[in-house]
């Protein structure tokens, strides 16, 4: 600030050319001025800092550390939840698998039971049909035997009549029956 030599300052500490005589630091004339303005500045800084800036920054820092703590807690909680969810998922998977196996086994047993019933039914039906058929065959056979008897009697009667004999029905029948047994 001492470039303008023409800008001479009155006082005992400056020469005619505007340069300092000795150290300006030790010039007693200027000290009260510096001290006065220093005290004013310090008081101003102190009031601004203690009333406005420092509480504000302190609050922001406290709030931030609180936020960070909360966020960490929340993250921890979420992590626990995720682990829980994973365990639940695994459990569900196990349950589902067991359930599926149970259903498969049940279905198998059911099918087996149904199959058995059907098989039995079919067997019974087959047996019934067989018996029926056997009965029918026996009947047919019986019928055929009777027919054979009747035909034989009729034929014998006719033969006897044709040969001119009088047919004794009883005798013929007895004869034929005896023959048929034969």
């Amino acid at each position: 600030m001492a470039t303008e030599t023409t800008d001479a300052v009155a006082g005992a500490c400056v020469d005619a050319g505007g340069s300092a005589l000795g150290m300006p630091q030790l010039c007693a004339d200027w000290m009260s001025n510096q001290i006065f303005w220093l005290v004013i500045t310090l008081i101003a800084i102190y009031f601004v800092m203690s009333r406005i800036a420092l509480p504000r920054i302190g609050a922001v820092l406290a709030e931030r550390s609180g936020t960070i703590t909360n966020d960490i807690a929340a993250a921890e909680e979420l992590k626990n939840k995720a682990a829980e969810a994973e365990a639940a998922y695994d459990q569900a998977l196990l349950d589902a698998r067991a359930e599926a196996q149970k259903i498969v086994a049940e279905a198998k047993a059911e099918i087996q039971a149904e199959l058995d019933v059907e098989l039995q039914k079919a067997d019974a039906e087959i047996a019934a049909k067989t018996a029926e058929s056997e009965a029918a065959i026996a009947e047919i056979r019986e019928g055929a035997k009777k027919s054979v008897n009747a035909v034989a009697k009729d034929t014998a009667k006719a033969l006897v009549a044709a040969m001119g004999g009088s047919a004794d029905a009883k005798a013929i029948t007895a004869a034929i029956t005896a023959r048929m047994k034969g």
């Binding site: 009155a10 510096q34 004013i40 504000r56």
Partner: protein, 249 residues
């Protein structure tokens, strides 16, 4: 600044930068006259306002750049006060913060070309240093009563040596404010004066490259010194405060 006058030849006036001048007119300097000291202290105050009040007005959880700077300085000084003086020293944090900010901003603003450096003035640093000394001494007696004198009485030392040590301790205690204030003013004044001397040599064509290199180097050093001296002044204040709060060795 060194000036080459019309007659030629080098003229060094490295101390002219510290002359106190009135801001308006050429009148005599009374204690209330607004001077260049007023101007640069005011600029320091405005810069502090800008960083700490304007910068923190968002109260953002995720800070802006300016708010970050304020928070860093806040955290740095707060931790220093807490570490050195203990928990019960924290209530003096605003006073120490005020001292630190004033010295820091005045030191760095003084590094601007054509600026004025209030912290190079012994009257300014003496008020700071003796202010700390008086406050700490009064505080020591108010908080501890006569027990504060235990600061000078080494209980661990052999009985014969104790009075001698006490005398040395008392002397060193009273030298504290002197060294406290002269350290700051001396550092800042010396750095600025050396830069001006180099600047004076820069007027000679032959040595000007060396001189300008010298200015650059000293300026870099001064950037360090400005921060370090603010730090040293503050931490010594904390140490003295600790003595007042806990005088037992």
């Amino acid at each position: 600044m060194a000036e080459e006058k019309a007659e030629g030849g080098l003229v060094f006036h490295p101390l002219d930068q510290f002359i106190v001048k009135p801001l308006f007119g050429d009148g005599p300097i009374h204690w209330y006259t607004p001077t260049n000291v007023t101007l640069w202290m005011g600029i320091a105050l405005l810069a502090i306002l800008a960083v700490f009040v304007l910068g923190s007005r968002g109260r953002a959880i995720i800070p802006s750049r300016l708010q970050s700077i304020g928070e860093l300085i806040y955290g740095f000084i707060y931790k220093m006060v807490e570490d050195v003086t203990g928990k019960d020293g924290v209530k003096y944090f605003p006073y120490i913060m005020t001292l630190f900010l004033f010295i820091l901003f005045a030191n760095y603003l003084a590094l601007l070309p054509m600026s004025y450096s209030p912290t190079s003035m012994i009257a300014v640093t003496a008020v700071l240093g003796f202010g700390v000394f008086i406050v700490v001494t009064v505080l020591g007696f108010v908080l501890n009563g006569p027990a504060f004198l235990g600061l000078f009485w080494m209980k661990d030392a052999p009985a014969v040596l104790r009075p001698i040590i006490a005398i040395i301790e008392v002397i060193s205690y009273f030298v504290r404010p002197v060294s406290h204030s002269i350290r700051l003013a001396g550092n800042i004044m010396a750095g600025h004066a050396v830069i001006k001397v180099f600047a004076g040599f820069a007027a000679l064509t032959l040595v000007s490259p060396v001189a300008i290199l010298g200015i650059t180097a000293i300026y870099g050093l001064e950037v360090l010194v400005a921060g370090i001296q603010a730090y040293v002044f503050t931490i010594l204040t904390c140490v003295y405060l600790k003595d007042a709060l806990h005088p037992a060795h």
